[in-house]
């Protein structure tokens, strides 16, 4: 290399693209606006995590105290005497009622919601699809206590006929047997929950179906598919993971719904094979109805049950993610 005395030898870095002046510039954070925004977003992210950790730690701590004093088995006891000394309580009946009523709600709501969403996006004339979508949105805005009041004052009295019909034709299954009590059982709760989660499932599915690629629908049409076959071949497969996500959103709401269930259900601390007869409560309903009269120890027991609901919700979401991920290579995403 020629080193002349008048010009400084070029440093080796000069062969690379011009280096950025400072380290901070390399991270793109020199402008004050960027720095403030970075600080704010990072700070609120950390704060959020801290708050959540604090809540979790607090709830777990409170729950662990009362759990260590529990005379019954927390998972299998059919009893809730958490104010007693020593306390005796278990979540078996609550878990049963929560899961069963939510399953009933899903069985009713998902097909109807998917049907409505398909009707809005693929069948209804444009003049009709707008108003229908609007009404569904309105349903989503009704407060849950209103659903509860409607359920107690209208739905319950009107379900007697349905209950006796079910008993007549399907009573032999055991699941739909009815002894004739007031229809304030898990089935009624399931029906009410179905109505409540219908809007969210419908709206999310509708958005997904609207995105179904035109080119694949035309491919099906050009093969001689009828409208329903187009939906089956291209719209539903495309919307599959969306339907699952939508259902999970609905399920999340059904699992945690409190006021409407507490208003309609007559809870009982036994488990019944029939969803028409009294049997079971739900986590949220149990907390709502027991909280006011609970001692400090009783409240801790309710907190423990709330943590179980939290775990169930997490498991459900995890399962949904697994289902969505399983057939990812076939999803519309890599078309």
């Amino acid at each position: 290399m020629d080193i002349s005395p008048t010009t400084a030898p070029p440093p080796p870095q000069d062969t690379r693209p011009a280096p950025l002046p400072t380290k901070a510039a390399a991270r793109g954070a020199t402008r004050p606006g960027d720095r403030i925004f970075l600080g704010l977003s990072r700070g609120s992210g950390i704060l959020l995590l801290l708050i959540m950790a604090a809540i979790a730690a607090f709830l777990t701590y409170r729950a662990s105290i009362v759990l260590s004093e529990n005379e019954g088995n927390f998972l299998t006891t059919f009893e809730w005497n958490a104010n007693a000394v020593p306390p005796v309580f278990g979540i078996a009946v609550l878990a049963f009622g929560t899961v069963v009523s939510s399953i009933i709600a899903m069985i009713i709501a998902v097909p109807i919601a998917v049907g409505i969403a398909l009707f809005i996006t693929h069948y209804a004339p444009r003049k009709l699809s707008g108003p229908i979508a609007y009404v569904i949105d309105l349903l989503a805005a009704v407060p849950s206590i209103v659903y509860g009041l409607w359920g107690a004052l209208f739905l319950v009295p009107h379900l007697t006929g349905v209950y006796s019909w079910l008993n007549d034709y399907f009573g032999w299954t055991g699941i739909l047997e009815w002894q004739g009590g007031a229809p304030r059982s898990l089935l009624t709760v399931g029906i009410l929950l179905a109505i409540m989660i219908l809007p969210i499932i419908t709206n999310v599915s509708r958005e997904v179906f609207k995105q179904a690629p035109q080119m694949h629908q035309e491919a099906a049409l050009a093969l001689g598919a009828t409208r329903w076959e187009v939906i089956r071949m291209s719209v539903l497969p495309f919307g599959r993971s969306g339907i699952i996500s939508a259902s999970m959103l609905g399920l999340g709401r059904a699992l945690g719904e409190t006021m409407a269930v507490a208003t309609v259900l007559s809870p009982s601390f036994l488990i019944n094979a029939s969803v028409l007869d009294p049997g079971g409560g739900t986590f949220a309903q149990n907390i709502a109805s027991k909280f006011a009269e609970a001692s400090e120890q009783g409240r801790d027991a309710l907190i423990a049950s709330g943590l179980v609901l939290f775990v169930i919700t997490l498991l459900v979401n995890g399962a949904a993610r697994a289902i969505i991920a399983r057939r990812k290579e076939y999803s519309g995403a890599n078309a």
Binding site: M215, H216, E218, L223, G224, T226, S234, Y330
Partner: protein
């Protein structure tokens, strides 16, 4: 499965015998006008498409080639506001007669689109079998045979025979387009419509498709829209030139003739101008 020889409706029960045996069919279009809502996209088009031949549509973009192509298998009316006046006769039977079910028309007249559109949620096998499954009546072993035959017919078999259960979206663009052709020919249509099937492909895949078109015309009546004049000259027997007098005006058929004549000695000046690159 609907047999290819079965008429579309009761209207043509008295078809001549030869037409029933010969799978490829002739198309006669008379005074065809198509609208998008109130916008008239093409006006008063009449032409004849000969069986077992390749007819190419050329013309500047927006002149209504795709619209016209889609009126031939009643895909145009799927577009909101899409409306058609005039006649399309398939071997003497009016496709727009009120007794004709458009679903049956589309089973008889297959279509390949500009962008390859295999069903992303289906495997390669299922993509090819999709049309047969729609028709319902098939046996499992028979299905595998038809899939193999169609993939061979589309010159794709050797490339995909070891991965029939993999998704079709994992193939290259050219392979996907040949998969779409296999899907279309699996149901044994009488006519195959192709709307710029190579415009999204590289030159090698384009050549593969052009070779394929040369083979397919032995069995099908083929209509292909193309932007590429060399392609029209290479693959087609007849060429139709479309044009529009001004933007917003409906497109019209200027002339249709043997490809050789269109490219050497067209009878209309506008065709010559377009082919020699003076406009469009």
């Amino acid at each position: 499965m609907r047999l290819p020889t079965e008429p579309l409706s009761d209207l043509s029960q008295d078809l001549p015998k030869e037409a029933v045996i010969d799978m490829a069919k002739r198309i006669d279009v008379g005074g065809l006008t198509a609208y998008y809502g109130s916008h008239k996209a093409i006006e008063d088009i009449s032409m004849t498409v000969e069986p077992r031949s390749v007819t190419a549509f050329i013309g500047p973009s927006g002149c209504g080639k795709s619209t016209f192509l889609r009126t031939l298998n009643r895909m145009h009316e799927v577009t909101p506001g899409g409306r058609v006046e005039g006649k399309v006769m398939l071997d003497g039977e009016d496709l727009y007669a009120s007794a004709v079910d458009p679903v049956n028309v589309r089973r008889t007249i297959g279509m390949v689109f500009q962008r390859p559109n295999p069903f992303p949620t289906m495997s390669i096998f299922d993509n090819v079998a999709a049309g047969l499954r729609l028709n319902g009546n098939y046996k499992k072993a028979e299905l595998a045979d038809v899939v193999e035959k169609s993939l061979r017919g589309a010159n794709l078999w050797n490339e995909v025979k070891d991965r029939l259960n993999k998704p079709g979206s994992g193939l290259s663009g050219g392979q996907q387009q040949r998969l779409c052709i296999a899907r279309a020919i699996a149901v044994e249509p009488q006519v195959l419509l192709m709307d710029e099937p190579c415009s999204a492909l590289d030159p090698i895949s384009t050549l593969a498709i052009e070779d394929l078109i040369g083979e397919l015309k032995e069995r099908f009546t083929i209509v292909i829209v193309t932007h590429n004049m060399q392609q029209a000259a290479r693959v087609s027997d007849r060429t139709a030139f479309f044009n529009l007098s001004a933007v917003g005006q409906p497109g019209r058929l200027i002339e249709i003739d043997d490809t050789e004549r269109i490219f050497s000695n067209p009878s209309v000046q506008a065709t010559e101008d377009y082919i020699s690159g003076r406009f469009g």
